[in-house]
C-alpha cells in the first residue's frame, strides 16, 4: 500500500504542472470574453462562450491563408530535407575518402553560425540570383523552402550520418553485388532502415520551420504569403492591442501545435531527446 505521503506528492506534482501551464488557461478563458468582462477579472472563467472574437481574429489575421502557407512550406521543406540529407549522409558515410570528410566537416562547422550573421548577405545574394536567373527566390514560397532546406541541412545530415555509421555495411554489399543500382539500394534497402532517425529529423525540422519567424519575415513581403508567426506579428503590430481579440488569435495559433503534439507525443519527446543527445 502507498503511504499517504505518496498521494500528497502525486497531487503536488499535478498542481505544479497545472500552474506551469496556467498562461494557456489565461489566454483560453479570456478569448471568449468581451472587453469589459476581461478587465473585471482576467483569471475568471467566462460567463458565456462568445466566439465573436475568433471570427474577428480569423478575419484580421487572414488565419486560414497563414495556416495554409505554414502547412505547405513546412511540409515541402521537410520532405526535401529528409530525401536530400539522408542521401547525402549515406553517401558521405559510405565513401571512405578525404572529400567525404571535408564535406561532412563543412556541414558540421556551420552549425555554430547564428542566423543573424548571414541574414543580410543572404537576402542580397538571393536578389542577385533573382536578377540573373529569373528564379523568384524572394517573396515566394519556393524561395523560402529553398532557404529552409539550406539552413536545416547541417543538423539533418549530422543526425543521419551518425545513424548510418551504426548500420552494418554487409547488408548493402550483398545488394550491390546483385547488380542493383545505388539509387535502388538506397531507397529499397537503406532508407527503410533509417526510419527511427527519419522520425527524429522530421520532428526537429517541423518544429523549427513551423515556428520560424525571422527568415520568413525577411524573405516574404506579400501579405498573402505570410506564415502563422508572421501573421501573428503583424496582427499585434497593426492594431492597438485589443486583448480579448488577441487572445483568440493566440489560441488559434496554439491549436495546430496541440494537435501535432497529441498525435505524435511519444515520437516528439523521443525525437527531441535523440536529436539533442547525439
Amino acid at each position: 500500500m502507498k503511504k499517504p505521503n505518496a498521494y500528497i506528492r502525486e497531487i503536488l506534482l499535478f498542481l505544479l504542472a497545472l500552474v506551469f501551464l496556467s498562461p494557456i488557461y489565461i489566454i483560453a478563458v479570456n478569448s471568449f470574453k468581451d472587453r469589459a468582462s476581461l478587465y473585471e477579472n482576467v483569471l475568471a472563467f467566462p460567463t458565456e462562450f462568445n466566439f465573436g472574437n475568433y471570427a474577428q481574429a480569423i478575419d484580421d489575421m487572414n488565419f486560414m491563408m497563414a495556416l495554409f502557407n505554414s502547412f505547405v512550406i513546412t511540409t515541402i521543406s521537410v520532405i526535401i530535407i529528409v530525401i536530400l540529407s539522408s542521401m547525402t549522409a549515406w553517401m558521405l558515410a559510405r565513401t571512405p575518402h578525404p572529400i567525404s570528410n571535408i564535406i561532412f566537416m563543412l556541414f558540421i562547422s556551420t552549425m555554430l553560425i547564428p542566423f543573424q550573421t548571414i541574414m543580410m548577405p543572404l537576402i542580397q545574394e538571393m536578389g542577385w540570383i533573382m536578377d540573373f536567373t529569373g528564379f523568384t527566390m524572394l517573396d515566394s514560397r519556393g524561395g523560402l523552402i529553398f532557404m529552409h532546406v539550406g539552413f536545416n541541412s547541417a543538423i539533418s545530415v549530422f543526425l543521419y550520418h551518425g545513424f548510418v555509421k551504426s548500420i552494418p555495411i554487409s547488408l548493402e554489399e550483398a545488394a550491390t553485388i546483385d547488380g542493383a543500382s545505388k539509387m535502388g539500394v538506397f531507397w529499397k534497402i537503406i532508407f527503410p532502415m533509417l526510419k527511427p532517425i527519419t522520425v527524429t529529423v522530421l520532428i526537429i525540422n517541423v518544429i523549427t520551420i513551423w515556428n520560424d519567424y525571422l527568415l520568413p519575415s525577411l524573405v516574404l513581403t506579400s501579405t498573402d504569403l505570410r506564415t502563422i508567426p508572421l501573421s501573428t506579428f503583424y496582427f499585434f503590430g497593426e492594431f492597438t492591442i485589443e486583448w480579448n481579440l488577441a487572445m483568440a488569435g493566440l489560441v488559434m495559433t496554439v491549436i495546430p501545435v496541440v494537435i501535432f503534439y497529441a498525435l505524435a507525443q511519444k515520437h516528439i519527446i523521443q525525437g527531441i531527446g535523440d536529436g539533442a543527445v547525439k
Partner: protein, 291 residues
C-alpha cells in the same frame, strides 16, 4: 564499379543538397565577412566604401552595442542557470515512481513546441495585466506590477519566459541521462544508508555529467542567440533596456541601414558564439574524462 561511375553516384547523391547548402549558408557567410570591412547603407546605387578594420574599431566605442553585449551576457548567465535548475528538477520529479509523472512530463514539455514569438505575446498579457491585477488584489503592488515597463525587471521577464520555454526541453535531456544510470548503484547506496541528497550528490549528479555537457552547450548557445521572445515580449524596451545582441544587430542593419557596420557586429557575434560553445564543450569533456 569503375571509378568514374562511382564518383558519378557520389555527385548525384550529395550534389543537390551541397549546392543548396553552399548557396544558403557558405556563400552568404563569405559575402558577409567581406561586407564587414565596408561602409555601406544597403542601397545598391550608393557606393560601398572600403574602410578596413574601422567598423571593428568603432564597435569598441559603441556604447549601445557594449550595453547590449553586457545585457546578453547577463541574460545568458541567468537563463542557463534557471533553465538547467528547473529542467533538472522537472526531470527528477517525472522519473520518480509517481503515477502522474507521465502526464506531468507531457505538460512540462508543451511550451517548447509553441514558437518563441507566440509565447512572448502570451506572456506579455500575463505580465502587463494579470500581474498588475494580482498586485491590486493582494496589495503587494511593489512586487506584482507590470515588470515589462521597468528597465530593471524587464530583463528578468525575458529570463523567466525563456526558462518557461526551454525547461521542458532540457528536462528531456536530463531524463535520458537519468534513465542511463543503473538502478542497482542507487539501491546499494540506499542500503548503505545514504539519504536522498547524498544519493543525488554522490551518484546521480556525477553520472549525469554527459547530460550536463549537452544541455549547458545547448542552453548557452540558444540563450545567446535569443531573438523571437525578445521581439514579441519587450521589443528591446523599455528604453533599450532589453535590446539583446541579435536584436541589436538586426536593428543596426535593417533599422538604421548601417549594412557594413551591422555586418561587422554580426561577424563578432559569430566569433563569440563559436568561441563560447567550443570552450564549453572542451572544458566539460575534459572534466568527464577525469572522473
Amino acid at each position: 564499379m569503375t571509378k568514374r561511375k562511382k564518383w558519378g553516384w557520389f555527385l548525384l547523391f550529395t550534389g543537390p543538397l551541397l549546392l543548396i547548402f553552399l548557396t544558403v549558408v557558405i556563400v552568404p557567410f563569405i559575402i558577409g565577412t567581406f561586407y564587414s570591412f565596408f561602409q555601406w547603407d544597403g542601397i545598391s546605387a550608393n557606393p560601398m566604401v572600403f574602410n578596413g578594420l574601422e567598423n571593428y574599431k568603432n564597435l569598441l566605442e559603441d556604447e549601445r552595442f557594449l550595453e547590449s553585449a553586457w545585457l546578453t551576457v547577463k541574460f545568458t548567465v541567468f537563463s542557463v542557470i534557471t533553465i538547467n535548475v528547473v529542467g533538472l528538477s522537472f526531470a527528477l520529479f517525472v522519473t520518480s515512481k509517481l503515477k502522474i509523472a507521465n502526464t506531468a512530463r507531457t505538460m512540462f514539455f508543451m511550451p517548447y513546441l509553441i514558437g518563441g514569438l507566440i509565447l512572448g505575446y502570451i506572456w506579455q498579457f500575463v505580465f502587463s495585466d494579470v500581474l498588475k491585477m494580482v498586485g491590486e488584489w493582494t496589495g503587494w503592488g511593489s512586487i506584482f506590477f507590470n515588470w515589462l515597463n521597468d528597465p530593471e525587471f524587464a530583463l528578468y521577464t525575458l529570463v523567466f519566459v525563456f526558462t518557461w520555454q526551454m525547461a521542458g526541453y532540457v528536462m528531456i535531456i536530463y531524463i535520458t541521462g537519468l534513465q542511463g544510470i543503473p538502478k542497482d548503484i542507487i539501491e546499494a547506496a540506499h542500503i548503505d544508508g545514504a539519504n536522498k541528497w547524498q544519493q543525488l550528490k554522490s551518484i546521480t549528479f556525477p553520472l549525469l555529467m554527459p547530460a550536463f555537457t549537452i544541455s549547458l552547450f545547448l542552453t548557452l548557445s540558444m540563450a545567446f542567440k535569443i531573438y523571437d521572445v525578445n521581439l514579441s515580449l519587450t521589443n528591446g524596451g523599455p528604453a533599450n533596456a532589453t535590446e539583446l545582441f541579435a536584436m541589436n544587430i538586426f536593428n543596426e542593419i535593417f533599422g538604421y541601414g548601417n549594412y557594413g557596420y551591422g555586418q561587422a557586429k554580426a561577424i563578432i557575434f559569430f566569433l563569440i558564439v563559436a568561441g563560447v560553445a567550443l570552450t564549453q564543450v572542451y572544458v566539460t569533456k575534459k572534466r568527464e574524462v577525469e572522473m
